[in-house]
């Protein structure tokens, strides 16, 4: 046999070496290695969606989510929250007179709003101011700051970042703190009184401890230099255009003044959405016998400095207690209950479908 059998040697001198295979000499065998990796035989876990795994998963998700949802919902409902809109757009509102206040006005406009708490606030109470239709998340707004300056960097203090434009330099002096965020800092003053038999008892509002620890201690720092005199340290800078007074006069206490003023820090942490609330003051529970804020009449004194009417903004004052999961949050609880129920329901539906129509075990043939 094999008369015409002929293996042609590579007479034309083309090596049949591969593109991917290292050329190697004639000595080196070109036989591929017999490794699990190269032969695609790596041990592997091959999960399949079967009724045995999917349906229990659905039921378990349902069974976990529904109690969590109920828990959140109950917790959220136990939280006391009280909200007053003091923008003053309605003519009847006491603050209506201040509606058209502007940054330039020198005389403060004050107004007082009386309100009644139906239920007492038992634990610590947090006082917020809320703004609506205020675009703290606008791209140009968000970027308009110089974190280097706010961190106490001296060169940035005198030469703020370009991002701060047009609030970078005023009258040839660098603005400290520069930028649109700082410039538009909320500057209403809110004071709370309990009216007890026509006497106004002021309620102590704590203004420290409202900012993140990292913000207060890491991110924001006053400029450093000789001595602790902030006035001297901020020498050569000017106040933001809208501000009535410079940054080193925000507060009397040195550890709450300058860039590390907590109201300022809270403001500088820009909101994600155009409607937001920011922590303003804390009201601590004094003793265990009395609720922090007992039910009754209160009055809110507002030094109305912050104009929002021009862009249809709203201003609110919110009093709220807190739980393990923060303030009132009905959405989360309801969402959890809904999703849990849907999962459970889906589980039931799928179970029925699987029992009625599921055909994998019975009729699915493998055509050969």
């Amino acid at each position: 046999m094999a008369v015409n059998y002929s293996v042609k040697e590579e007479a034309d001198g083309h090596p049949s070496g591969g593109v991917g295979v290292p050329g190697g000499g004639a000595v080196k065998t070109r036989k591929p290695d017999n490794t699990a990796f190269k032969q695609q035989r790596l041990p592997a876990w091959q999960p399949i969606l079967t009724a045995g795994t999917v349906l229990p998963a659905f039921f378990i998700i349902g069974l976990i989510f529904i109690p969590i949802g109920i828990g959140i919902f109950v917790t959220s409902n136990n939280i006391r929250e009280y909200e007053i809109d003091y923008t003053g757009t309605e003519p009847s509102s006491p603050c209506n007179k201040c509606l058209n206040v502007s940054w330039d006005s020198t005389t403060p406009c004050t107004c007082t709003i009386n309100f009644t708490l139906e239920h007492s606030f038992e634990s610590n109470v947090f006082m917020y101011y809320g703004l609506s239709n205020f675009y703290q998340n606008h791209r140009r707004y968000v970027k308009s700051r110089d974190d280097s300056q706010l961190n106490g960097d001296n060169s940035s203090l005198l030469n703020p970042s370009k991002e701060c434009e047009p609030y970078r330099i005023n009258e040839d002096k660098p603005i400290a703190p520069c930028g649109a965020i700082a410039n538009s800092m909320f500057n209403d003053t809110l004071e709370l009184y309990r009216i007890d038999n026509d006497t106004r008892i002021p309620i102590t509002l704590i203004k420290k401890g409202i900012a993140w620890w990292t913000d207060k201690n890491v991110k924001f720092r006053n400029p450093t230099g000789d001595g602790n005199n902030l006035t001297a340290l901020f020498q050569g800078t000017t106040k933001p255009v809208n501000w009535p007074k410079p940054v080193y006069m925000l507060d009397s206490e040195p550890d709450n003044n300058g860039f590390i003023n907590e109201d300022f820090i809270v403001w500088m942490r820009t909101a994600a959405l155009p409607t937001f609330r920011k922590l303003y003051r804390l009201i601590e529970r004094k003793n265990n016998l009395q609720p922090t804020l007992q039910a009754g009449k209160y009055s809110l004194d507002i030094a109305y400095n912050y104009p929002v009417h021009s862009f249809d903004g709203r201003k609110r004052m919110i009093l709220s207690t807190i739980s393990w999961m923060g303030g009132k949050n009905p959405f989360l609880g309801i969402a959890y209950i809904t999703v849990g129920s849907i999962c459970f329901f889906l589980g039931v539906v799928l179970l029925i479908i699987h029992h009625k129509y599921g055909n994998r075990n019975t009729s699915a043939d493998i055509p050969n």
Partner: protein, 1020 residues
């Protein structure tokens, strides 16, 4: 154009035989002289036309004397010939030399690609070189090959780009309106940028800003990742041990890395025959002598043995002249020879005498045969081993060693083989003086010319012949006839006269031959196996089951091709009909095609009920009717018919007919026709085509097809160099397609789906956020997150899936070839799937934005501070996004290797690690303006509300997907799902068995053996 060739410089003077084959690979030569007498030159043209028999070329007599270099140097002829063309079998030209004209024909040419055989050396004159050679004229243009997924991907990317512009426009309009309505009033806190004086201009600027921040939706990294995955798949092909041929020591090789997933979509395979399906080895495998069939493989007890348990081959050691490579498994034949059965002796005597083989005996006992066709060689070698050794021949004698005795026969006449006669005979005078005619030839011809006394024997032999043909063997019938001295004398005189006649010489000779080859006595029949490559029938069977249509395109003649068709089970006896198209004119071909179609349609009409047929006829064209044909048909078409069939007005007709057939064999086709056939299918069928071949004659086809596969084997390297994939055995094709191709396609599709999904889920959040930030192009995420999302957090898990994923193990894809079908139908990634992915991505992005929005809008931290500050919001959304897409890739990954685990968990870990690093004090101290998210991670992620939000988002994003997939699996499972599921069940049963056995109730409650389940399926 006339081409003039000046002589001396253009001929390298090849002195040894080895240099000329090299030269003949570069240029078309005019044969001037050779080492053989009369300037003869034997060549093999397998690389040109696939034919493996030897051909003779002859130098024109005047140049054949130019044997040595000094004479050659004085040769100064001039050749005027036709311009370069692609006709391999025609050449016309004239040699002008010494004021004489000599006509030149194809008989004088050595074409590029042919190989010298049995010729020590030859000299030639270069006529065409380089791209002008006939071979190069036959190779098509190289085209840049791209996969259909590639093209689809480009379209989709364009669409996505359009979508991006749309989003940009919407948001820009939103911005203009917002600035006009709100922004204008908000200027006390946020004045417009310098240079922006109108809301419209602001909108214009915001358009570009949005184009920039939303650009992640156009996945730039997609292209890189796709290439990486393809590279990985190519390496897997290179590394595959099961595609390594130990004999030739060649591994499979992916020569391009861009076509892998198309291997999973092949619908048509165009295969060469010689060297691809066959090994190009002829083996004497069976014979029938005097009504007794020999050659079945038998075991010790004399029963037919199963394949695989072959006994020892017959021992030929008694014969010192035997060819050691010859193997035969039936000892019966040798016994018959030894017992002196006169029929068997006569049978082998015929084989040793009736042929045109030349022998060469370099040293005593070392015989070499030079055969023009491998069939003849195989027969003569068989006779040699059985003790009838053809030793040598002169023009007048043939010397044969018959069982050790040297006998010289006088050779009186050779009645040559040709295509019309389909037989050859010799007339010899034995030493005893008897004159005998020995004849061998095709059964159809020869059986008619037998003496009537042979009737019984003929019937038995015909049965044997049918049996052999059914096995795909090439059969010949052998017969002899004793001639009277007087009759022979008369006949030879007439022959002499006819031979010297000037008119109608051929006809007269043919009539004389016809006369003498009559009333012959039947000796028997031989069956030669054109040895297939290993595993060819199995491979073809599996590929056919996988719905891949296989067309054989060969330069060989029709009988050979059909034989191979039978032996590799492409053609079977069960087929309703095999149509053979051999028409020489346009009309004939058209008529034959029309008849074939009518027959197929008649059959389907009679099978299907009339109603459905009517309906089909009214609703559609011929095509759909032909596609729904009942019964199995095959089409065999000849090269000259194909030339007509490929013409513009008939090609559709041809294609429809051919596609309705289960098997198509085109024989006697030129390389260019091969390419044209491929092109035709590509053009009208919109199917993925694969061409596989091994010779230079396949190059154009390999280049034309979507995927070209080269067999790196016997016929040189041109095919491999032009191919996209190469390996050394045809059978590897099934693994390349069904395993590697299928996986590649699956992986690529899964990869693309996920990739588009994750980018949409990621980017669209910006779009929704736009409505809440005054369309100001504020991003939702930290800039570093945006940078790293595609590169670090989500790239590796999906890459790992794209490289390693497997739905069913490799042996299953061979077991169930139907698993290949989704690729052919393009089910796993198409426009519909794309939109589903996009929809899922958008759905995820909506939840990704609005759930945190709903939760965080009024939420406060557990220390009373505001929770919904921008940075916390960004971290919450980013974290839920990373978790959701990680869970999603976990769902998509069907094959969790250690690498997948590492990448998925590693990506999550990397996310948190990088997050905490980016938000750390240290980095902020160094670059306060770059890392302004300081302290954010630990503050935000310490909040239970945030984690509850993330969990909620994840569940809401994933649950519908799981539910949907489960329903699909449960109600409409794909075959691959079923296979996976069955495997899981089997595995469980196995472990159950093991447990039960351990408990001691072995086998008492076998859950359900495989067969039983099959039965139940069957009933259902």
């Amino acid at each position: 154009m006339n081409l003039t060739v000046t002589v001396p410089n253009s001929t390298r003077s090849p002195s040894a035989g080895t240099t000329l084959p090299c030269l003949s690979r570069q240029a078309d030569l005019l044969l001037l002289s050779s080492s053989e007498p009369h300037g003869l030159c034997y060549i093999e043209t397998a690389e040109l036309d696939g034919e493996t028999n030897m051909k003779v070329r002859q130098a024109i007599p005047v140049t054949s004397e130019l044997g040595d270099t000094s004479k050659l140097a004085r040769f100064d002829g001039e050749v005027i010939c036709e311009p370069p063309n692609n006709k391999l079998d025609k050449f016309g030209g004239t040699l002008y030399w010494k004021e004489n004209k000599y006509p030149l024909s194809n008989q004088n040419m050595l074409l590029r690609g042919c190989v010298l055989r049995n010729t020590e050396w030859c000299f030639g004159l270069v006529i065409f070189a380089g791209p002008d050679t006939k071979l190069m004229q036959n190779s098509g243009r190289t085209k840049f090959k791209r996969t259909s997924i590639d093209r689809l991907m480009n379209t989709l990317v364009l669409w996505i780009f359009g979508f991006l512009v749309c989003m940009g426009v919407i948001l820009a309009i939103g911005n203009a309106i917002w600035e006009h309505e709100v922004g204008v009033c908000f200027q006390i806190y946020l004045p417009w940028d310098e240079g922006v004086h109108s809301a419209f201009f602001s909108g214009f600027l915001s358009f570009w800003s949005y184009i920039i921040i939303l650009n992640t939706v156009v996945p730039i990294s997609l292209y890189v990742s796709v290439e990486v995955i393809r590279l990985g798949h190519s390496y897997f092909i290179n590394w595959d041990k099961k595609m390594y041929c130990a004999k030739r020591r060649t591994p499979a090789e992916a020569r391009t890395t861009t076509l892998n997933e198309e291997l999973g979509q092949v619908e048509y395979i165009f295969s060469d025959k010689t060297g691809t399906l066959t090994q190009n080895i002829m083996v004497f495998s069976k014979c029938s002598v005097n009504g007794h069939s020999y050659g079945d493989v038998q075991d010790v007890l004399g029963h037919k043995a199963e394949l695989g348990e072959r006994p020892e081959p017959v021992d030929f050691s008694f014969n010192p002249l035997a060819d050691p490579r010859f193997q035969f498994w039936d000892p019966g034949l040798l016994e018959a020879v030894k017992l002196g059965d006169p029929h068997v002796h006569e049978f082998f005597r015929l084989l040793s005498l009736c042929h045109t083989v030349m022998s060469e005996e370099k040293s005593e006992g070392e015989l070499y045969y030079k055969a023009q066709s491998p069939d003849e060689g195989a027969l003569v070698t068989a006779a040699r081993n059985f003790g009838f050794v053809f030793r040598s021949r002169t023009p007048k004698t043939i010397t044969v060693h018959e069982l050790g005795r040297a006998i010289t026969y006088q050779l009186l006449a050779i009645l040559d083989f040709n295509n019309i006669r389909k037989r050859m005979s010799v007339i010899v005078r034995s030493p005893e003086g008897k004159i005998r005619l020995y004849c061998k030839g095709a059964d159809t011809i020869l059986l008619e010319r037998l003496h009537p006394v042979n009737q019984d024997l003929t019937n038995v032999t015909t049965d044997h012949l049918n049996e052999y043909a059914g096995e795909g063997l090439r059969t010949l019938v052998l017969a002899y006839k004793d001639l009277e001295e007087s009759y022979y004398k008369d006949w030879s005189e007439r022959l002499h006269r006819a031979g010297s006649a000037t008119e109608a010489r051929e006809d007269r000779l043919a009539r004389l031959y016809d006369e003498v080859e009559h009333d012959m006595m039947l000796l028997g029949a031989t069956a030669i196996e054109d040895k297939l490559q290993q595993g060819v029938p199995e491979t073809i069977a599996i590929l056919t089951l996988a719905n891949i249509k296989i067309w054989v395109l060969t330069g060989d003649k029709q009988e050979t091709a059909v034989n191979i068709g039978y032996s590799c089970k492409m053609l079977t006896d069960d087929m309703t009909e095999v149509f053979v198209v051999t028409g020489h004119t346009v009309l004939e071909v058209r008529e034959e095609l029309r008849k074939a179609r009518e027959k197929m349609m008649d059959a389907s009409r009679s099978v299907g009920n009339g109603f459905s047929y009517q309906e089909k006829l009214s609703s559609s064209k011929l095509t759909s009717v032909l596609e729904a044909i009942a019964g199995e048909y095959a089409l065999v078409i000849n090269g000259h018919s194909l030339a007509h069939a490929l013409e513009a007005d008939m090609e559709v007709e041809f294609l429809e007919t051919a596609c309705a057939c289960k098997a198509v064999i085109c024989c006697r086709v030129t390389p260019l026709q091969k390419a044209q056939v491929v092109e035709l299918v590509k053009k009208y069928k919109k199917a993925v085509t694969l061409a596989i071949g091994d010779g230079a004659n396949d190059v154009s086809m390999i280049k034309t097809a979507h995927i070209g596969v080269g067999i790196s084997g016997q016929e040189g390297i041109q095919a491999v160099l032009a191919s996209d994939y190469s390996f050394s055995q045809f059978k590897f094709l099934q693994r390349l397609l069904l395993v590697h191709g299928r996986w590649s396609y699956l992986r690529m599709c899964k990869f693309l789906c996920y990739f588009f999904y994750k980018n949409f889920a990621f980017t669209m959040v910006h779009f929704w956020f736009g409505f809440f930030c005054g369309f100001s192009a504020q991003t939702v995420y930290d800039q570093y997150f945006i940078t790293l999302y595609n590169i670090v957090y989500t790239s590796l898990p999906v890459l790992a899936m794209g490289v390693f994923d497997q739905d069913v193990p490799e042996q299953r894809s061979m077991e169930y070839p139907k698993l290949y079908e989704p690729g052919q139908l393009n089910l796993l990634f198409n426009k519909r799937e794309f939109f589903i992915c996009i929809a899922q991505g958008i759905y995820t992005s909506v939840l990704m934005f609005f759930i945190p929005y709903g939760v965080l809008a009024d939420a406060t931290r557990d220390d009373g501070a505001q929770l919904a500050d921008y940075q916390s919001f960004a971290v919450t959304v980013a974290t839920s996004l990373v978790i959701v897409v990680s869970v999603q890739i976990g769902l998509d990954t069907g094959f969790w290797t250690a690498i997948n685990h590492f990448f998925i968990w590693g990506s999550l870990a990397a996310y948190f690690a990088i997050l905490f690093t980016m938000h750390s004090d240290g980095l902020f101290q160094m670059f306060p303006n770059q890392f302004r998210f300081v302290g954010n991670a630990q503050n935000t992620l310490a909040q239970p509300t945030v984690w509850l939000t993330i969990a909620l988002t994840t569940v809401v994003c994933i649950v519908p997907v799981v539910a949907f997939r489960f329903l699909k699996l449960d109600l409409k499972p794909e075959l691959s799902d079923t296979v996976r599921y069955t495997q899981l069940v089997r595995k469980k049963q196995k472990t159950q068995h093991r447990c039960m056995r351990r408990v001691g109730r072995a086998g008492s409650r076998r859950s359900e053996p495989r067969g039983a389940r099959r039965d139940r399926y069957g009933q259902a």
